[in-house]
């Protein structure tokens, strides 16, 4: 039984944790929040200095050729600091879609820019998208890091197209967003020029797998950080002459957080491994990991606010960053109920 990190994976984890702990500080994240939701220096260092951006991209496409376990390790470390990075749109969705579904020309045109961090991409989903004579009409009001993107990967659920930000008839409006570490934008196409992704089914499937694992891992990192920060506070904060962490009402709530987190950890790495090994459990594992880890992150961040008392409700404290990020993850790429209904259908068939 080897359901544990290899030495190499352990090394990646330690490097990533140290990198985000040192660089993705609260001050830098807040500066990015004031601006456009991306810590540009952090992103460049992540992509170029550490060379982590291509970790789950095949070597033939210019990546490191590792898998979703390694991607999850990075996303978990980033999530532990609510790092303001365009990982979801650029790497988990766009780069995965282009690497798996792009033509040779499309891979050449876009991947090196995405992996160097110079090009930021966003993912636009619109089930009602209209495609006429190679021109797209439609869009979405909720595109993560849409206002910073130069490239859009657009899908109606079955087809996929690439649209340049600077093409004609592309309209982008930033939205004031609750989670300012991953701001949303309204992106509209009104007969925008486009090119179709060569193999959309493969591209979308790869993007979906990577993004579900990545978001779940990010949620796991956030949940674990919420627990650790609250446990630190519980040991230091004194009321009634005792550290508040000595009260069972408080301790037991922290223990319950840990019980959820350990399950979320199993879920994330089960899903990542199942995809990497091509296991038939992968679809179920992806639904399980996304729904379970997102709920865990939300519950732990909410508990972090409650267990910090008044200070946890302030803008100054970081609790709200975790809380808002967790809430956004719950909604992104399908809510928990939707994923669980998919699992129910696997077990019970469609409801009559």
């Amino acid at each position: 039984m080897e359901f544990a990190f290899t030495d190499e994976q352990q090394m990646i984890a330690e490097t990533a944790r140290a990198f985000f702990a040192e660089n993705a500080t609260s001050a830098r994240t807040r500066a990015a929040m004031e601006h456009d939701g991306i810590d540009v220096v952090l992103w460049r260092d992540f992509c170029v200095e550490l060379g982590f951006s291509g970790i789950a991209i095949p070597e033939s496409a210019g990546g490191a050729g590792l898998g979703l376990v390694e991607l999850a390790i990075l996303a978990e470390a980033a999530g532990a600091h609510v790092a303001a990075l365009p990982m979801l749109g650029s790497l988990m969705l766009a780069a995965q879609a282009i690497a798996a579904g792009g033509s040779a020309a499309q891979r050449t045109a876009w991947l090196s820019g995405l992996l160097s961090g110079e090009t930021i991409a966003a993912f636009v989903e619109d089930a009602m998208l209209e495609v006429r004579d190679g021109k797209l009409t439609g869009g979405s009001g909720f595109v993560a890091h849409g206002a910073q993107a130069e490239l859009f990967v657009v899908t109606d659920g079955s087809g996929a197209w690439l649209v340049r930000r600077d093409a004609e008839s592309v309209f982008v409006t930033p939205q004031m967003t609750m989670d300012q570490t991953r701001p949303l934008a309204e992106v509209r196409f009104d007969g925008a020029s486009t090119e179709a992704l060569a193999a959309p089914a493969e591209g979308l499937a790869a993007a979906n797998r990577a993004a579900l694992v990545g978001l779940a891992a990010e949620a796991l990192g956030g949940a674990q950080a919420s627990l650790e920060r609250t446990a630190d506070y519980a040991r230091e904060r004194v009321q009634f002459g005792r550290p508040i962490g000595s009260f069972q009402a408080y301790k037991h709530r922290l223990a319950d957080m840990m019980v959820e987190i350990e399950q979320a950890r199993s879920a994330v790495y089960w899903a990542a491994c199942a995809v990497d090994e091509g296991s038939e459990e992968a679809p179920l594992a992806l639904h399980a990991a996304k729904s379970f880890a997102a709920d865990t992150a939300f519950r732990c961040a909410a508990d972090m606010i409650q267990l910090h008392g008044g200070i946890g409700f302030t803008w100054e404290h970081d609790a709200h960053l975790f809380f808002k990020r967790a809430r956004s993850i719950q909604t992104l790429l399908g809510k928990g109920d939707w994923h669980r209904e998919k699992i129910a259908t696997m077990i019970l068939g469609e409801a009559a």
Partner: protein, 392 residues
Amino acid sequence: MKLGFSQADEHFRQECADWLNGQMAGEFRDIKGITKLTGSPERRKEWEKQLAAHRWSCIGWPEQWGGRNATLAEQVIFAEEYARAGVPGRVNHIGIELAGPTILTFGTEEQKQRFLPGIAAGETIFCQGFSEPNAGSDLAGVRTKGRLEDGEWVVNGQKIWTSLAHISDWIFVVTRTEEGSQGPRGLTFLMMPIDQPGIEIRGIRQINGDAEFNETFFTDARCPADSYIGGVGEGWKIAMGLLAFERGVSTLGQQMGFRNELDEIVAAAKANGAANDPLIRQRIARAEIGLRLMRYGALRMLSNTDHSRMDGAALTYKIQWATWRRDLGELGMDVLGQAGEVTAHRDYEWDTLPNLFLFSRADTIYGGTNQIQRNLIAERGLGLPREPRWTA
């Protein structure tokens, strides 16, 4: 990081499955599928002997003592296939998983010779005398007294929740042998034969009508002076060492039983239309997720080769499975509706799902209540201040 077992392990799995399925289709078909620990005790004692005759009774033990020196992975696989084949639980679970390993670790050569062959052969059934009416979660509060008299230990007091004491041959008893001692000091771990005038056993009827637990009364009960394991006054150390054997390997086998229970709920929901209820569908999906996460949590736990360190998956495992199963019991009743409130059996006997609903209330109590588990997690896992306790 890998999900599965090695090729060699999968061959071993086939060997286990073949033998177990053969037994359950053949000579022992009458005990297949029994879920209650108290069902058909005599046949199940014969089953223990059958396991031993084919060297399957204690595969994790050294070969010298009747085991196979099986690796952790092989022990897990055997436990999984055992449950998958519908073989009922081991009536000598305590002997094989607790008493044996304790004697192997802490016993003298003479004690190994005296006890291990009988346990391995399925001839000596053991039960566990730890809890007392006033020593439950606070195990160090035991009051049962032992004193040396004319070259024998003389024991007086009462134990409770002694599973299967009524069909056991031996009991290990934590006794207070130092007059006036308190807490974990002054305790001694004694092995006592049950068939003697000084030991009386009374069944405790449970909320599901069954009686697998007992009260065990000691009135000048006796055993030879050399019946202690470890040293006189070292009973706490031995008891704690024994509890460490209790987790791990059997958990994946236990999960196969949980799988059968969830499958039964799914079948019931499909049969009566509950499978169309969106809320039931959500709960069945949650149960499925929980069971899978239990499996991968256990694999993480067993993959962790650094056993000196209690990792998060191991520390949270008990509360996780116990709470999951209690929820499953409630889900089963919600799926059955009023059909779950009545039984066709006489004598207040219940089919699997209503029985699960009732019995699973014990899961969050025995082996450390959920409240005690939360204390352990907070203190050992999160470094929070400790609850008041005996000073060792």
